[in-house]
């Protein structure tokens, strides 16, 4: 659809747009973030410092970004998606060259008031570009090999850069989100079947490469996989994360030990308790009820997004909303799988809850695009 087509439909203008925001989604996001504040308060031992205060500030900033993004018409975002994608690639290269080393990987650029993780931006920019691509591509060409190869290249380029950081978790997330958008756009089933088959082949190749000079993964990544497969083998070493995390979860029971009563997290048995493993603290202190409630809220956000995506006739809007929803889903699904011992420890935060600036800002910005799509969706005008 062209700008003119958008314009022909009556969309809200000016401050009236605020009324057309998806307020339910905002409420859900605020709820999830509040859960995050509560848990950060708890793991800090009942203190607003060092985590809650900056997190609240970032949330406020993120909300502001979301509103601004939401006010800008969705076609603007479609039109700059190429720029955004190229910009994020440039950032990825920059982080490779000037990034700060943390946790054995080059991931951050210090931009003064916060540390920026370019890979976070990349996820959204890539989804935007893919959505724009399929909006531009005539639907009948979608499954033609050449037109399939192009988006695959668009996915693999940032994936390769992220993998080089090395950040296995994010690169898997990138591929999965990109694949999801392609799937939604209507690419033929057969491609996905082929990719999955190739993926299986690649995994076996990766394992074959272990110990040879063309080794594809770093040693620590192999070890993470090992310990994921059998955490009890090395309970005090690499398996420690998973074992302690499961203990924390399990000891929470039905209703948990109570707010600020989680011994596992309070006594530092939990690693990364304020970032990647924050869900274990929640599950320990609020039990199964607390955990399932958070999962439910997350799923509600996804459902709101799906409903919004189906509800718009605009192809770019649908795809970008769904792409962002998939990215969001992958975040919490991988994180929860990881802390519950269903996936290897790959370093994916729990969205909106884990302490961390760029993820939260980028996610809220992404939801700003979702909101923009929601506000500026094509409407049937009274003729």
């Amino acid at each position: 659809m062209s700008y003119l087509e958008y314009h022909a439909k009556s969309t809200p203008t000016g401050l009236r747009k605020v009324l057309f925001l998806n307020w339910g989604l905002i409420l859900l996001l605020a709820t999830v973030s509040s859960v995050g504040f509560l848990m950060l308060y708890s793991v800090a031992g009942g203190s607003f410092n060092p985590w809650v205060e900056p997190q609240v500030k970032r949330f406020a900033l993120g909300l502001g970004v979301m509103f601004v993004v939401a006010m800008i018409p969705i076609w603007f975002w479609r039109n700059i998606s190429v720029v955004a994608y190229l910009g994020s690639l440039a950032l990825l290269v920059a982080v490779e060259l000037f990034g700060t080393v943390g946790m054995g990987a080059q991931r951050w650029i210090d931009i003064g008031f916060m540390r920026l993780q370019p890979s976070e931006v990349t996820k959204i920019a890539m989804v935007m570009l893919l959505a724009a691509y399929y909006d531009w591509l005539p639907p009948e060409k979608t499954s033609r090999p050449l037109w399939v190869l192009l988006p695959v290249a668009l996915i693999l380029l940032p994936t390769a850069l992220v993998l080089k950081q090395p950040d296995l978790g994010t690169s898997i997330l990138l591929m999965a989100a990109g694949g999801g958008v392609m799937f939604l756009a209507g690419v033929h089933w057969a491609y996905f079947a082929a990719v999955i088959a190739a993926g299986v082949g690649l995994v076996s190749a990766v394992f074959q490469s272990r110990g040879t000079d063309w080794q594809l993964l770093k040693d620590y990544q192999f070890r993470r996989i090992d310990t994921f497969l059998d955490p009890s083998q090395d309970p005090l070493g690499a398996g420690y994360h998973i074992t302690q995390s499961k203990i924390a979860l399990g000891s929470g029971g039905w209703s948990g030990r109570g707010f600020m009563q989680g011994t596992q997290s309070r006594l530092n048995f939990l690693p990364e308790k304020h970032t990647d493993f924050i869900f274990t603290t929640l599950a320990e202190e609020f039990g199964f009820i607390g955990g399932i409630t958070l999962l439910f809220i997350y799923m509600l956000i996804i459902l709101f997004c799906i409903a919004s995506a189906i509800g718009t006739k605009d192809r770019f809007s649908s795809l970008v909303i769904m792409g962002i929803a998939i990215t969001f889903f992958l975040f919490f699904a991988v994180n929860m799988s990881m802390v519950m011992g269903l996936a290897p420890v790959v370093g994916v935060p729990l969205p909106m809850v884990s302490y961390g600036g760029s993820a939260m800002l980028v996610l809220l910005g992404a939801f700003g695009i979702v909101q923009s799509a929601h506000i500026h969706r094509p409407r049937q005008t009274q003729r």
């Binding site: 062209s2 939604l184 499961k246 924390a248 006739k313």
Partner: protein
């Protein structure tokens, strides 16, 4: 770009289907997560909760306070005193070297300790305290405490350590404690967990080791919450341990101190026993050592000094050392002969200076002989021939039996290390030990306490007490345990004819009160205080016939280790025996010269419960004794008696 709306609708419919499909997939995945959550948190909750508790709670043992040891008057012999240490937690200190530098400006730090601490720091995690200095004075500790804000991570800590305020006086009796070693643990079948506490002290030697069972006490425990790195966060509850039982010894620390000083640098042993109840009033082995050295962990140099000393300060000569009793054994031979009717008290034996036994000459110590000798003279002048003669008539087995009655060849059950049994030879004993027949000459040797005969100073003291009382006096070292008085060692009558005993005692009286007695020079002046005794000089070498012909080499001309042992046993007062004393001076020469004066001084000190008046000594000796008393008084000042405890 132009598109027809049919295409658009088809594409939108396809996307909607796929979106719903993906949404379904996501829901299914979320359902899987929920199921997993349920499995972990509901089905497996109990197991994980248990694991969490195990993670969180640690049980730490609380070492019990060791039982204290007192002398008979309540003076402290072994106590637990607070030991102050300075520890640093490197993590809290930040710059450890800067903190150490600041600390060494306040208190003296041993460079060796610091080197060890630095090595420890490199090994252990940074949150564990490292000991920088041990056994710090209270003043230094308070300096550290006052300056605590300037010394991050530094903590003055207090623990209990064993202290022996009497220094060397009780080193051989009480022994010492030391940190549990792997060797100690290997000897125990089922070591108590408390022994695993680092640097926990257990009795190593002496009374401390023998009564470890009651001295140690029972460990308490505290449950603490620890974090992932093992740091204690808070204490959940605690159960105090039970202190070890306090012990009171029969020993009089004042007398013990005097005896130790009187023995001086001689390689000697002295035992004072109460004839009435068997209480050991003093039991000293000289030279001694400071047991506190071992508690601290003795340095290699100090230890070598102790082990290479030819006077063997580490051995407890009173119960562990056995010596040929020499002439001090003659009372036993005499009693065996009298009791078996072999000889009457008035009967005499002709001493020409030697006796031919089975073709071999057995010499009397006096070459010229003693002439006609009766029992009294034989003891008084210590004639050997008399005893060769009556012993051969009595037979070795009866003599040994008599010796056993008087506590020789019997292992007295004292809570000390390595209490020796000694040897009272019999025919059977020689056959089983050497596979040889008993020779008549062996009897002659045994009759004067030579040959195979061996006795410890303790056994000699017990023997003397039994001669003095006629009762089976049993030595007692432990007066009360945890306030409970232990059974007295007064003993039953031995069943020896009182008349015969009196004859022997009279002979012993003559030894130190008759002008011709061998210990006349060491007599005690004063009615009701007179001493009865017996000298002994036991050879540690054979005198060859050639040497005898050329004239026996005098002791003074021999190297120390080949000189005779000097012995003296005695009791007093003669009329109403109170204390029996045995003194052995290793390689001291003649018993009358080297041992008797010591025994007499010790006996007087015990009788007067302090420094005796000069009137108790023979007139001629008084000025010399006065000088000696003053010298000892000065030397004893160097041995602080510690503080008298509040308990009686």
């Amino acid at each position: 770009m132009k598109r027809n709306s049919k295409d658009q609708d088809a594409a939108h419919g396809k996307m909607t289907r796929r979106a719903l499909f993906l949404g379904g997939l996501q829901l299914a995945f979320a359902g899987g997560l929920a199921a997993r959550m349920r499995y972990l948190q509901v089905d497996q909750a109990d197991e994980f909760r248990l694991l969490a508790e195990e993670n969180r709670i640690n049980i730490r043992l609380l070492p019990p306070a060791r039982g204290q040891i007192f002398d008979r008057n309540g003076l402290i012999i072994a106590q637990n005193s607070p030991s102050y240490r300075i520890t640093v937690v490197p993590e809290d200190a930040g710059d450890v070297e800067a903190v150490i530098a600041k600390l060494s400006g306040l208190v003296p730090l041993d460079p060796e300790d610091l080197e060890r601490a630095r090595a420890e720091m490199r090994r252990s995690p940074p949150f564990l305290p490292i000991t920088l200095a041990d056994r710090i004075g209270w003043e230094d500790i308070s300096k550290v405490a006052v300056n605590a804000p300037a010394l991050p991570g530094v903590t003055p800590e207090v623990g209990l350590t064993r202290v022996y305020p009497q220094l060397g006086d009780f080193a051989h009796v009480v022994g010492y404690v030391g940190p549990v070693s792997d060797y100690d643990l290997s000897k125990m079948e089922d070591p108590e967990p408390v022994l695993m506490i680092p640097r926990f002290q257990i009795g190593k030697v002496g009374f401390e080791a023998r009564r470890e069972d009651v001295l140690r006490g029972k460990a308490g425990a505290k449950r603490v919450e620890v974090n992932a790195t093992g740091r204690v966060m808070r204490e959940l509850d605690r159960r105090e341990g039970i202190s070890g039982a306090d012990m009171q010894l029969t020993i009089d620390a004042g007398l013990q101190n005097y005896v130790q000083a009187r023995l001086g640098r001689e390689s000697a042993a002295a035992v004072v026993i109460d004839c009435e109840d068997g209480d050991i009033r003093a039991i000293c082995s000289s030279p001694s050592f400071d047991p506190n050295l071992f508690v601290r962990g003795i340095s290699v140099a100090d230890y070598r000094m102790l082990t290479e000393d030819k006077y063997r300060p580490l051995s407890n000569k009173t119960v562990q050392g056995t010596y040929p009793p020499g002439s001090t054994f003659k009372m036993i031979t005499a009693l065996a002969a009298l009791e078996n009717g072999v000889v009457g008290p008035e009967e005499t034996v002709w001493c020409p200076g030697h006796l031919k036994v089975a073709g071999r000459r057995f010499h009397c110590w006096k070459r010229a002989g003693h002439g006609h000798v009766d029992l009294n003279t034989s003891l008084k002048r210590s004639c050997d021939v008399y005893y060769y003669d009556v012993a051969i008539k009595t037979g070795i087995d009866k003599i040994s039996e008599m010796a056993n009655k008087f506590g020789l060849g019997i292992k007295h059950d004292l809570p000390m290390s390595a209490v020796a049994q000694g040897i009272t030879p019999t025919k059977e004993w020689k056959a089983s030990s050497y596979g040889k027949d008993w020779l008549i000459g062996d009897t002659a040797n045994a009759s004067i306490g030579q040959g195979y005969m061996l006795a410890s100073p303790l056994q000699l003291a017990v023997m003397t007490a039994r001669i003095a009382t006629g009762r089976s006096v049993t030595p007692r070292l432990l007066k009360s345990l945890d306030g409970v008085e232990q059974p007295s060692g007064a003993g039953e009558p031995l069943g020896i004819s009182e008349n015969n005993l009196r004859m022997v005692r009279r002979g012993m009286h003559s030894v130190s009160n008759d002008r011709r007695g061998t210990a006349y020079r060491s007599r005690i002046i004063g009615d009701g205080m007179q001493m009865a005794g017996k000298t002994g000089t036991s050879q540690v070498r054979n005198i060859t016939a050639a040497e005898r012909a050329a004239g026996v080499i005098r002791n003074e001309d021999l190297p120390w280790e080949r000189r005779d042992h000097a012995l003296f046993v005695c009791f007093a007062p003669y009329d109403k025996p109170k204390y029996a004393v045995a003194v052995v001076v290793e390689h001291g020469g003649g018993g009358s010269k080297a041992a008797a004066p010591v025994a007499r001084d010790v006996l007087l000190q015990a009788l007067y419960d302090g420094t005796p008046p000069l009137e108790a000594y023979p007139n001629a000796d008084r000025s010399r004794i006065k000088a000696q008393q003053e010298r000892l008084e000065r030397e004893r000042v160097k041995r602080p008696l510690g503080s008298r405890s509040s308990r009686a």
